[in-house]
C-alpha cells in the first residue's frame, strides 16, 4: 500500500476532510435546493411534495421578472463602473513609492469593512433629513438618494462599487506589476505616447486579469444581498429588490420556501452558466491555461 501511494503521490485520504465539509455543507445543500424547489414549505411545518407547481408560479410572477431585470441592470452597471476605475487605480498603485504606502492603506479601506457597516454608514450619510444634504446646500447633492425609485438603483451600484473597487484594484495592480518594463522602454524608443502604450501594451498584457476580474464581478453581482438588505431592504417599492433579495423575502418574509428555492435554483443556473461561459472564453483565449476562475 505504501509503495503505491508513494509512487502516485500522497494518499487520497488527505483530501477527504475537505471533501466531506464541502459535500455536506455545500454540495448537499445544492441538491437540497433543487429538491425544495419541487416542494411546498412554509418554514414552520414539514415540506410537502408539489411537483413542478412552483416553477410556473415563479416564472410567471412579475415581481420575480422585475428582480431578474434589476439584477441584470446591476450586473452591467457594476461592470461598467468598476472596471475602468479598478484598472486605472491598479495601474496607479502598481508603481512603488513611499507616499503610495500611506495611500494604499486608505485606498483599500473598504475591503476591510463589512457590508453591514458600509450600508449603515451610507444610509446615515444619504438620509435626506439628517445626512449630507443638510451640510452641503447644493441641489445636485441633496437628492432623495434612497427614496427616489429612479435614483436608488444607481446609488446601490455606487455603494457596491465603493465596496468592491479596491478588491479589483488589487487584481489589476498585481497584473500590472507583471508587465515587463522592457515593453514600455521599447515602445518609448519607438516614440509611442502614453495613450498608445496603454492601448498597445497595457491592455493586451492585462487581458487575463480583465477576464478574471470581470468574471468575479459578473458572477459576484448575483450575490449582492447583505448590502442591499441593510441599505434599502429592497425598496422603495420593489426598486432594489434584486434576485437574491427576492429569494430571501419570498422565503423568510413571505414564508414560501418552495418558491424561494425555485428562485435560488435560477440563481445557481445563471451563476454557473456565466462562470463556465467566461472561463471557456478565457481558455479559448489562452490555449491551455488550466484554472477557470469562477
Amino acid at each position: 500500500m505504501s509503495t503505491v501511494s508513494e509512487r502516485r503521490g500522497p494518499t487520497l485520504l488527505m483530501a477527504v476532510p475537505a471533501l466531506v465539509f464541502f459535500t455536506v455543507f455545500a454540495l448537499a445543500p445544492l441538491a437540497g435546493v433543487a429538491v425544495l424547489s419541487l416542494m411546498r414549505w412554509d418554514g414552520l411545518g414539514t415540506p410537502s411534495w408539489a411537483g413542478l407547481a412552483n416553477w410556473p408560479e415563479v416564472l410567471g410572477d412579475p415581481v420575480t421578472h422585475e428582480a431578474i431585470w434589476l439584477s441584470v441592470k446591476v450586473m452591467i452597471l457594476s461592470w461598467v463602473v468598476q472596471t475602468p476605475f479598478a484598472l486605472l487605480l491598479g495601474l496607479l498603485t502598481a508603481r512603488r513609492g513611499r507616499y503610495r504606502e500611506v495611500l494604499g492603506v486608505l485606498y483599500f479601506l473598504p475591503l476591510l469593512l463589512s457590508s453591514a457597516a458600509i450600508a449603515i454608514a451610507f444610509k446615515a450619510l444619504l438620509d435626506p433629513n439628517f445626512g449630507m444634504s443638510q451640510a452641503l446646500h447644493i441641489a445636485a447633492l441633496s437628492q432623495d438618494w434612497l427614496g427616489n425609485p429612479d435614483l436608488v438603483l444607481f446609488v446601490v451600484v455606487f455603494v457596491i462599487a465603493w465596496q468592491f473597487i479596491p478588491f479589483h484594484t488589487l487584481l489589476y495592480q498585481a497584473g500590472a506589476r507583471q508587465i515587463p518594463a522592457v515593453l514600455y522602454e521599447a515602445a518609448a524608443i519607438d516614440g509611442a505616447g502614453p495613450l498608445r502604450q496603454f492601448f498597445s501594451i497595457t491592455l493586451p498584457q492585462l487581458r487575463y486579469t480583465i477576464i478574471t476580474s470581470s468574471t468575479l464581478m459578473l458572477v459576484g453581482s448575483l450575490t449582492y444581498f447583505d448590502i442591499v438588505f441593510v441599505l434599502t431592504g429592497g425598496g422603495p417599492g420593489n426598486a432594489t429588490r434584486l434576485l437574491p433579495l427576492d429569494m430571501y423575502l419570498t422565503g423568510f418574509s413571505n414564508n414560501d420556501m418552495g418558491r424561494a428555492s425555485t428562485i435560488a435554483v435560477l440563481l445557481v443556473v445563471v451563476g454557473v452558466a456565466l462562470s463556465l461561459g467566461l472561463s471557456r472564453l478565457a481558455r479559448f483565449d489562452r490555449g491551455s491555461q488550466q484554472e477557470g476562475m469562477g
Binding site: 433629513n129 434612497l146 422603495p236 423568510f252
Partner: protein
Amino acid sequence: MMFRKQLTAMAAVAVTLVAAACGTSGPSASGGAATAWSLTGGDEQTFRSSFDSWNKAHPDAAITPTFFANDAYKQKIRTALGADQGPTLLYSWGGGTLKSWVDAGKVLDLSDEVAADPQLAGRFLPSVVKTGTVGDKTYALPNNAMQPVVLYYNKELFTRVGAEPPKTWDDLMALVAKFKGAGIAPFSLGGQSKWPMLMWLEYLVDRIGGPQVFADIAANKPDSWSHPAVLQANTMIQQLVEAGGFVNGFASIATDSNADLALLYTGKAAMYLMGSWAYPTLKTANAGFISDGKLGHTTFPAVANGKGDPANIVGNPANFWSISATASDAQKQAALSYLKDGVMNPQYVDTLLAGGAVPPVKGLESKISASPDGAYLSEIYKLAADAPSFQLSWDQALDPGQADALLTGLSQVFLKQITPQQFSDTMNKTIKP
C-alpha cells in the same frame, strides 16, 4: 506506522464532526429557564420592569426576555419557530400571524385555563380578547396597551402658521399647502418600513366605505380589492403624495429607527399618523416635547359623503402573549403563572399608565384620570372603548404571504409606480378562495 498516523488524523476530523453534531445539547428550546421575545420601543419599559420584578419574586419560574426591533422580530420569530427553538412566550398581534402559528401547532391552546380561571381573560375588554382567539379557542392573551392609530401633530408649528387640526380630508389637503408654503413638511412617514403607509389606506377605506369593505377582503371574497372605496382611497393617497404631503425622502425613512418620530419633535414635520405606541416612545426619546405641551393629537379626518363612522378606528387592539407548544413543562408552567399573576397586575397597569399607554382592562376610568398623562390617556381609552369598529391592522389580519404583497403594492402606490387600478388587480390575484 504511517497507517496509524493517518488513522489519528482521520479520528481527529471525526471527533470534530461528532462534536459538531453534539452541539445539540447546547441551547435547545426544551431546556433552561423560560424565555420571552418582545419588541424595543413602545411598552418596552413596562415589559422590562415586569420581568424584573417577576423574576425577583419567583426565582424558580424566572423568564428571560429578549427585545427585537419590529421588522427583525417578524423575520426572526419565523425562523426560530421553524427550528423549534422559539421562546416560551411569543409576542404577536393576533390575527393572521397567530393563525399561522396555530395551524402549524406551534402554540398552546389556552381555552381550558381561560375556562378554569374567569379572571384570566375576563378582566380585559371583550373586543380585545377576541383578537387572541382562532375559531372558538383562545391562543393568546393581551400583554400591553390598546393602540389605536391617532393623528399626532406639533402644536408649536400649527400656532406658527396659524392652523387648526384637520376635521375633514379637505381641511387636510388645505393644510398641506399651508405648511409647504412655510417650508415645513406636512406629514412625517416611515415609508421604508412600509406598514406605516398602510394606516392611510386602512383609515381612508374605512371612512369612505365603512368596515364591511375590509371584512370582505379578509373573508377572501373574489375581487374584493377592487371595491370602489379601495380605488378611491388609493387615488386620494396619490393626490396627497402629488401635493407634497409627505416629508422629503419618506420612502427611505425606517420606522424601526424612530427617524419618522424624530421629524415630528425636531419640528421638521407638522403631523404624524401613527399608532398610540408612539406616545410612550416619545416619552422616552424626548419627554420635554410632551411636558412643554407641544404634542397635539386628533382622530383621522372624515371624508365627505363617506359611509364610515368617523369614530371608527384602526390599529392594534393590543399585543399578545402566546405560549410555545414545544417548550418544556417547566417553561410552560412558568409562562402560565406569569400570564396569571405577572401580566396586568396592578403594578403592571400602573407602569403602563405611567409610560403613557392604556391597557385594555375593564373599569380603569378613575385610575387613568388620576395618572400624570390622565387627560390624554382618558381620551385614548374612550376612543378605543367607544369605537363602533376597531379594525386590526391589515398586515396582521391577513395571511402573511398576502400581507407582503399588500405592503409592497401599497408602497408602489405611494411612489406612483402603479395606479390604484393596478394595485387592486394585483391584490385580487392574491385571493385564494
